[in-house]
């Protein structure tokens, strides 16, 4: 394994995270490289979302090291982590009520405060081209959208800031099968655009089609890692998750 502080885009080494007395992450070590989509799989409550929150700075690890592009992110606030280039689409979308679709999107520009208004307008138009349903509803309150549209909005809101690494937590939870297909198509398109992604997903059968590599987490530890294009790893994964 490469030395810590090497060329990995994201590197976590022996991360432990506690919620009070509950020891949720118990020594997670992983890396994410440029251009890859890493799937985090495992049953509910094993620590996948906590891992995402730790990377986003919502939760402070009690032990371990965490670097992004060679810089330590320990003790860095979540707004600074975001401005360094780590975008987050959280589990429950967290669309701001009372804010229109466009206001929700415009907030995403806070990830890159140096970008001028003209460039922002161009970026917004390109986002609307990618998500035409959001363009149709740009003046509508974000929370009045359907579940699928809200998920699109949550992803688009982060994409306006052009994150270097995108974390997406359970994007298809509670969505109709047709919308689920759209979300996976979008993730695949982002992968083709070269956006590195950490994807937490329960729908492993579909997720394995879009990820390049995966980790299975159990009780706060990584118990299995593999490549998605390796049929043997694929079978071990399904066996591990008892599917």
């Amino acid at each position: 394994m490469a030395k810590f502080g090497g060329t990995h885009m994201l590197e976590l080494r022996n991360i432990h995270t506690h919620y009070g007395l509950s020891h949720v992450l118990q020594g997670i070590s992983l890396t994410v490289e440029r251009g890859e989509v890493l799937g985090l799989f495992g049953r509910n409550g094993v620590g996948k979302t906590t891992l995402i929150k730790t990377v986003a700075g919502w939760v402070t690890p009690s032990e371990g090291q965490y670097e992004f592009e060679g810089q330590s992110m320990l003790g860095v606030s979540s707004d600074q982590i975001c401005r360094k280039g780590i975008g987050l689409v959280p589990e429950d979308r967290r669309i701001f009520p009372g804010l229109s679709v466009e206001e929700n999107l415009v907030l995403g520009f806070m990830q890159t405060p140096a970008v001028g208004r003209a460039q922002q307008a161009r970026k917004l138009e390109s986002i609307y081209q990618r998500f035409p349903r959001l363009a149709e509803r740009r003046k509508q309150s974000g929370t009045t959208l359907s579940g699928g549209e809200q998920q699109m909005l949550a992803i688009a809101r982060v994409l306006v800031g052009e994150p270097k690494l995108l974390q997406i937590d359970e994007p298809t939870e509670g969505l109709a099968p047709m919308i689920v297909n759209e979300i996976f198509d979008l993730i695949l398109a982002l992968r083709q655009d070269g956006v590195p992604i950490i994807l937490v997903e329960q729908n492993v059968h579909r997720a394995i089609e879009v990820v390049t590599r995966f980790c299975v987490i159990e009780r706060g530890r990584i118990v299995l890692q593999g490549r998605a294009d390796d049929p043997e790893s694929h079978q071990t994964l399904l066996k591990q998750l008892a599917m």
Binding site: W58, S78, D79, F96, P97, G98, L99, E103, M110
Partner: protein
């Protein structure tokens, strides 16, 4: 018919105008309180003392020869700096603890006691007055109203409108509303939420300060002047909905009108019990207040 018109012109209208001029100042106070609560979840018990500090700041500025109009501009700026410093140095210390609500309540309550005593030591307990900057009166429908009260109404309304536009029609306002609803998600979009909190606290304190300056020429300036006034503002915020800007404006204007008009029929001694009675009724019927909280749709 003629009697009714005369009653409206000579009895009701003056009460309505007087009530409105106090109402606008109450709204300014309540607006600061409700914005601070809506965003930070902090019940600012020192808000009345910030109002008094605003009035005393104007007294000092005028005493050293600065015109009232400059004092009206400089005091809210000074109070905004005070508010920013209080948020960063005191509120932030306890803001992330589990007992945040209790600790911030006790902290601001303690701060209120300290500020009140500092004002007593610095200026004494005797009331002070500021000369009314606009003399004379204006005739409206055959009645004369002091020009300064009309100015307070106009200025207060303009400030309320400006705050409304700032919160609901600007990008920064959208950030404030987003941070009020979900600070984690807002931070994960790159917003320095702690700075937004401090600046919003500063805005709330500046609004209390500007209410202090505006009312200083109408009422006396004394160290405990904020106590009674903040009770009315708290009632307004509770009735309008804790954290609701719309609620603070509507409840503030409505309640001061109820107080003002009721004093035609009942002793003014009963005006505060009437106000608190309204608050109890609203709490029984709609405990969350009349309108929704800032950032919650």
């Amino acid at each position: 018919m003629a009697e009714a018109l005369e009653w409206m012109q000579y009895v009701l209208a003056p009460q309505v105008i007087n009530g409105a001029s106090i109402g606008v100042a109450v709204v300014l106070m309540a607006l600061g309180l409700t914005i601070i609560f809506g965003l930070l979840d902090v019940i600012n018990m020192a808000h009345g003392e910030f109002y008094a500090m605003g009035a005393y700041a104007a007294v000092i500025l005028i005493a050293i020869g600065i015109p009232f109009w400059w004092a009206l501009l400089l005091t809210p700026l000074f109070m905004a700096v005070v508010g920013y410093a209080v948020e960063r140095t005191l509120i932030q210390r306890v803001f992330h603890s589990k007992d945040r609500h209790t600790l911030t309540l006790l902290l601001t309550f303690g701060l209120a006691i300290v500020l009140e005593d500092v004002l007593k030591i610095a200026f004494g307990a005797n009331p002070m007055r500021i000369e009314t900057p606009i003399g004379g009166s204006i005739e409206v429908f055959g009645l004369f109203f002091p020009n300064y009260r009309m100015f307070v109404m106009g200025m207060g309304s303009a400030i309320v409108a400006a705050v409304w536009i700032f919160i609901f029609r600007t990008r920064v306002g959208a950030i404030v509303r987003a941070a009020a609803f979900d600070r984690h998600m807002t931070a994960s979009l790159g917003v320095p939420v702690n700075k937004v909190y401090a600046l919003t606290f500063a805005l709330g304190v500046a609004l209390a300060g500007i209410a202090g300056v505006l009312l200083a020429p109408i009422y006396s300036v004394f160290p405990t002047m904020g106590r009674d006034f903040v009770l009315i503002a708290f009632s307004v915020v509770i009735i309008g909905g804790m954290g609701s800007i719309k609620g603070a404006v509507i409840a503030g204007l409505l309640l001061t009108q109820i107080q003002s008009i009721s004093s035609l029929y009942i002793s003014p001694v009963w005006s505060d019990p009437l106000l608190f009675g309204c608050m109890v009724l609203v709490l029984m019927w709609r405990p969350q207040g009349l309108f929704g909280r800032l950032g919650h749709g």
